[in-house]
Symmetry: C2
Subunit: 462 residues, 2 copies
């Protein structure tokens, strides 16, 4: 354990007085679970606390700033790039008890929530009032609104509705030292002051600790429908994806599953597509029932040119759910496909998808690793799961080599290292291939405005 | 003329060597037009330059930083809050020659442009490729993409498509000293680094000078239609606006015209609505032809409960254009309605619109000033034109008093001073009613990261 991860007795007493009872834990046994996240990395925290008020967060950040102790914000730790891992030690701050839905206002089309609210729970509460909160990361049933905001989470509906940043109107955050900063507001439009709201969204916990978020709501779409179409190859599926946009349709979701991904799902579930299908598209549309019916017909025409080998149209909620459940099985399926995976979320310009997919396939073959390729192709966002056995040193090295080559390929295609997961720890070694030193220096200086001593989630993101 | 507006001979020579020929002007006669904008304020610049390359902008900003000379970015100066007025003197930088459309890519759904491109020209070029750039400020035929980005311009289509910030993927900007900073990229999703792109959008020229913008394009909607409905009162019209959202419709545009605004238009044009109508809604929808037909039928039902006195449905481009031309006449009409106007763009939570409208009417009556009220009510964004004769001291004082009371009313309703125009000079005196000193200090420190000497559009915005 590095010295920075330790708290002295006086620091422990101070922390325990801010967080009485079970709201603070210190022993390695108790803090162990706070040392990791969905990246499967681990580092031991010095303590973990569970505030249940903004007041406690203020006291905590005044204390941590004075003592120069790292602060690690933590929602449900579904982060895949290590943002919740306390690599510099310090205090993990769980938002588990900051989990109140403070308001859902059907006239203002606004919700106000604490950061620890699980996004799926919020969506259900909102839908009950015929309202709609659009962001839907794959982790929606487990991840929190605060965590989604910290990473600017994407998800399937981003094609039509945008990502988390497009649905956050205002933020209350506590800065190191204890200053409470509110940004934005309650209105759907607001151009007063620099846009600090979006600066905080996607900041990966490096600027401050969210205590409240004001969200933009939309009317709940009256109907949705999904068309699933399989093709002989990824190239044909991606050509069809291009045809969808060329037909003038802006779908809610436009997902692609490559052959290996389809096989992984088929290994754990009955599937409706032909066993030799090379790729599939799942396309969802929403709107009035008439609009949805018309769009599905148009989708069927638009996806026909590329030569589908299987088509299924789902126009009832049950039929849609059956299709999307197959898409959702991809994550559990991937865990069964090999002992270990490297999971990336590279994103390329939409027109470069076919070249990216072909390149990734070639790299997988050359490095002799199995790659599950799927993703939000409507946004150019590819999920690349490099399956391997990390216990095999040679295989591990080939997987790492494949990863680096894929990241560099996507940058060469004018893409980005991350479309929705963030940089965290996992992509930090490659960051200088995307951002130059001048850009990174600016990022560090912007951070220093909010966090001059560098205690917020140190050694991450940029 | 303040001393800061003057350049010495050596500075003039340096500037002329960066900007040979007619690319720089220095005399009061030549620079006069660069001293004002749509706010009708004026201050004399020391010089005006028209770069036609990023290289020239770099040299300029290295020179200006070294000499501590203010830099005033200027598109077409349609800004209504004084952002283009050189109150601290300095060099006005016109983007008139940085006006190339560098790329429209129908596969990537991306356009790359220089900041001086007129937004309407770009939209036409994009539509010719069946693509769509959604932001459409009222000034679209005159204003530039760079100016729209600097103010995060809104416009009518924001209800469904969001504002300018939601459609800018990346920016190239030159900072004081000459550093070229690129933010974001070419992909529709990107979470690498803090979101500097949105920090620059809406920064009102206070951080750097844009030299290139990468824009997100969408498929061109296949069809649109508009329903115009008049009501006996603003209150009834706003109740109907609420009913539109409750019916589950997310319109492209949802505009309201109050009675005085309708009368002002009727004074310069034939109008189709009854002379005694108290307010009107203009509602536009888009999508497939079937979706549009269904949505218009749904709109007619949703807007019926509030008791319309007139309804017109426009389903052809010509019929739609005739309706929207009436809405567009509001601006010229307002100039004929009185010698002077104070024009604000307050925004309130959507559910507070009826209270805001009633309060604004009462203030107008108490202060005995005619107020044209209209706006993007789908976003809670009200345009308040306080008509008066500024040559009449008493009337001017009453107009100013009405203005301040309206701004404070909207803040009391949890609104914002500006939904789309920005703060500029015009709202700066009221800014401390919305942002506290702690917030403003943070804004100034963020600015200092990019502009440590404070040469970019000084004395504006925050």
């Amino acid at each position: 354990m590095k010295s920075s991860t330790l708290l002295n007795e006086s620091q422990k007493r101070a922390l325990a007085s801010i967080f009485p009872g079970d709201a603070a834990v210190f022993t390695p046994e108790e803090t162990f679970v706070y040392g990791t996240d969905a990246s499967r990395r681990f580092a031991p925290p010095a303590a973990a606390v569970r505030p249940d008020s903004c007041e406690q967060v203020k006291e905590l950040l005044a204390f941590a700033q004075a003592e120069r102790i790292p602060i690690l914000p933590r929602g449900r730790a579904t982060n895949t790039v290590g943002d919740c891992v306390p690599v510099a030690g310090g205090i993990v701050v769980s938002t588990a008890r900051l989990n109140r839905i403070l308001e859902i206002d059907p006239d203002d089309f606004v919700a106000v929530v604490e950061p620890g609210v699980v996004t799926g729970d919020l969506q259900a509460a909102i839908a009950a009032q015929k309202l709609f909160y659009a962001p839907d990361p794959a982790s929606v049933k487990f991840s929190t609104v605060g965590g989604n905001a910290a990473t600017c989470a994407g998800g399937m509906r981003a094609v039509k509705y945008g990502v988390t940043r497009d649905h956050i109107l205002g933020i209350e955050a506590v800065l190191p030292g204890g200053q409470v900063l509110t940004t934005g507001g309650r209105t759907h439009k607001n151009v007063v002051g620099l846009d600090l709201t979006r600066l905080f969204v996607g900041s990966e916990g490096t600027l401050g600790l969210f205590t409240k978020l004001t969200l933009k709501l939309l009317p709940l779409p009256q109907a949705t429908a999904t068309l699933a179409v399989a093709y002989p190859s990824i190239d044909a599926a991606l050509a069809a994806a291009g045809d969808v946009f060329r037909a003038g349709i802006l779908p809610v979701a436009l997902e692609m599953l490559g052959q290996e991904a389809m096989k992984a799902v088929a290994a754990i579930s009955a599937v409706p597509w032909p066993a030799d299908a090379g790729a599939a598209l799942f396309v969802r549309v929403d709107g009035s029932p008439e609009a949805v019916a018309a769009d599905v017909a148009l989708l069927e025409r638009a996806t026909a040119d590329a030569g589908p080998v299987w088509t299924e149209r789902a126009v009832t909620p049950e039929a849609e759910e059956n299709l999307w459940e197959l898409r959702r099985l991809l994550n559990p399926a991937s865990f069964k496909a090999a002992p270990d995976k490297i999971s990336d979320d590279v994103t390329v310009p939409r027109g470069a998808l076919r070249e990216a997919a072909a390149g990734i396939k070639a790299i997988g073959e050359e490095e002799r690793v199995r790659i599950l390729l799927f993703g939000h192709v409507g946004d150019g966002n590819l999920h690349v799961n490099i399956m391997h056995d990390a216990a095999d040193a040679d295989e591990r090295a080939r997987a790492q080599s494949a990863r680096e080559r894929i990241l560099m390929l996507c940058l060469a295609l004018r893409g980005t290292l991350s479309g929705e997961h963030g940089v965290g720890l996992s992509k930090l070694p490659f960051l200088d291939r995307q951002l130059d030193e001048g850009q990174r220096e600016i990022l560090r200086r912007v951070k220093a405005v909010f966090d001059p001593a560098g205690i917020m989630n140190p050694q991450k993101a940029y």
